[in-house]
């Protein structure tokens, strides 16, 4: 039975408590604005489909930024142009939710141009309402990507000139060239007949999402009487006379009939799947039993530095890999800039009993310096009471700090004696774990095959680690 009354939808708040305005029962939109009408059509559809409790309305930046004042649904106000990206996250985390991305032409076609293309191309199961009024309304009527040729705006006072500002972007046509979108239609908030088509398109776009069919984009031509400097009635006429020529109405893509109705599917993230890939024990299974080192060596924050080619990054990776196998939280990040290419390299490593807040190590408790420039650069950063390990074969001037422990070893010389200079990093690894007892030898050995691709080099690497450990044992005795 047809509804016998047309009035404010339940999906709007009765009173807009969130608005700072003293008047809390009217929207902030200008007289005659198209946003209000589209909002009404969306709210009515949400009511009729009974989806209010699971709808999340993503507001853009632009005049419709205050969607959360009005819609009695879940609301997120997104960064400029990023509504489709935010919508993607929400929809994937809550596949049973109905996610509406509501965007204007400045938001969607300019700064958010890439977001909408990528979301459409992924075929995200969301509904995008794209309000195209050919101008930046909120900021006072500047030229938008959709501004018509010849149209005067505050930033195109002589009219849009394609030689200078390019051509209006036809978003629907562009999105319709992609494979994934299910439904793309351009409609117009014009007379009663056209507005009824908008109403149908709104419902179709939402139905597609409810049925889990995929991505829908409805481009809605709309008026901006304030930005266009016209009365609302004149603006409707102008839209009809000029916008339609540049932006023809119609269905640009519709695969909704050929796609069956589907159940919503929650993406299942398998931790054990990742652990399998990394050859780690399954979650819940005991990691390798590791004796804790002395308190001064617990939860080390390491900075490892040297020449490019010395295997600094590999040394860091090896520590992180072994630490992970011992059940520590670990992080590893390389740090290099343009000036580092072919020069020095360094990386930051954390091994921690607690979750790691930031992988960046600015106050290392352990500095490994495999050349003089690295020691000179980072010596002052080491936390008091920390440890500096350096290669005596390559660093002629030892550390000057008196408030830190210093471990010098001729790593490169030892590596040369083993027949391969490039193995010095593993000698240092052995010296560090032997000195600090942060990880037992077996754990380090178990990590080697994960990172050393040439398996015939494994015995040499193991030997190098052992030589490093022996060095500190001899030193201690």
């Amino acid at each position: 039975m047809a509804e016998k009354r047309l009035s404010k939808a339940d999906s709007f708040y009765k009173v807009y408590e969130r608005t700072p305005s003293a008047i809390k029962d009217v929207t902030h939109y200008c007289p005659g604005c198209g946003h209000g009408v589209l909002s009404k059509l969306i709210a009515e559809a949400i009511d009729d489909f009974g989806i209010r409790e699971r709808t999340i309305f993503m507001s853009p930046v632009g005049c419709s930024v205050f969607g959360y004042y009005y819609f009695r649904t879940g609301n997120i106000q997104c960064a400029h142009g990023r509504a489709p990206a935010a919508a993607t996250g929400i929809k994937r985390a809550y596949p049973e939710s109905i996610v509406i991305s509501y965007q204007g032409d400045g938001d969607l076609a300019a700064i958010g141009g890439n977001e909408i293309i990528q979301a459409a191309n992924r075929g995200e199961n969301i509904t995008v309402f794209f309000v195209n009024n050919a101008i930046y309304g909120m900021t006072g009527g500047q030229l938008a990507p959709t501004t018509l040729i010849g149209q005067k705006t505050t930033t195109s006072p002589f009219g849009r000139n394609p030689a200078n500002e390019g051509y209006p972007i036809r978003v629907s046509e562009m999105i319709a060239t992609l494979e994934a979108p299910v439904y793309v239609e351009r409609v117009m908030l014009g007379d009663a007949k056209n507005t009824n088509k908008v109403r149908r398109a709104v419902r179709k776009g939402l139905s597609n999402q409810i049925d889990n069919k995929g991505f829908s984009l409805i481009e809605v031509l709309s008026v901006c009487p304030s930005g266009w400097k016209m009365t609302p009635v004149q603006a409707k006429q102008w839209m009809n006379d000029f916008m339609l020529k540049q932006f023809p109405l119609g269905v640009y893509r519709d695969r909704s009939e050929e796609i069956p109705v589907r159940e919503s599917q929650r993406h299942v993230f398998s931790v054990d799947g990742i652990r399998d890939k990394l050859e780690l024990p399954k979650s819940g299974e005991q990691t390798m039993q590791v004796e804790k080192p002395a308190a001064e060596f617990m939860n080390p924050r390491l900075k490892l530095a040297g020449f490019g080619g010395q295997g600094i990054l590999m040394l860091g990776l090896m520590l992180a890999e072994a630490g992970m196998r011992a059940g520590y939280h670990v992080s590893w990040i390389p740090s290099y800039g343009p000036e580092m290419r072919g020069g020095t390299a360094n990386c930051h490593v954390n091994l921690s009993e607690r979750r790691i807040g930031s992988p960046v190590v600015s106050k290392p408790t352990v500095l490994v310096a495999l050349n003089q420039p690295s020691l000179d650069k980072f010596e002052s950063e080491v936390a008091p009471g920390g440890l500096i390990i350096y290669d005596t074969a390559l660093v002629p001037n030892p550390p000057k700090r008196k408030d830190v422990k210093v471990l010098g070893l001729p790593a490169t010389t030892i590596a040369d004696e083993l027949g391969n200079t490039r193995i010095a990093n593993m000698v240092v690894l052995g010296a560090y774990v032997g000195y600090s007892r942060i990880l037992p030898k077996e754990v380090v050995f178990s990590a080697l095959p994960a990172l050393i691709k040439r398996k015939n080099l494994l015995p040499l690497n193991e030997l190098a680690v052992e030589k490093g450990m022996e060095f500190v044992t001899r030193m201690g005795s």
């Binding site: 009354r5 047309l6 404010k8 009217v26 005659g32 009404k40 059509l41 609302p232 409707k236």
Partner: protein
């Protein structure tokens, strides 16, 4: 207040306080039963008004009006709570 039970004529109710006087409903009404009122409302606009007869309940004005609560249309035969 409740309408009397029985056949009720279609009508349009404009909430003057929420009307911004854009005139879209007046321009779109196929029966020409809406008009711009002389007085100013609390928002400083000339609100739309209903002449009081001739509304067919088609809903055109409702779907032209950008303001969610400014217009309500009662179709013929509607009996229920009053909103204005």
């Amino acid at each position: 207040m409740l309408e009397a039970v029985g056949l009720v004529q279609a009508k349009v109710v404009v909430r003057e306080d929420e009307c911004k006087g854009c005139g879209l409903c007046i321009a779109a009404c196929p029966e020409n039963v809406l008009f711009e009122q002389k007085h100013l409302n609390r928002l400083g606009y000339h609100p739309a008004g209903y002449t009081g007869s001739g509304c067919t309940g088609c809903g055109t004005c409702f779907y032209q009006c950008p303001e969610p609560g400014a217009i309500a249309v009662y179709k013929k035969g509607y009996v229920g709570e009053e909103v204005a």
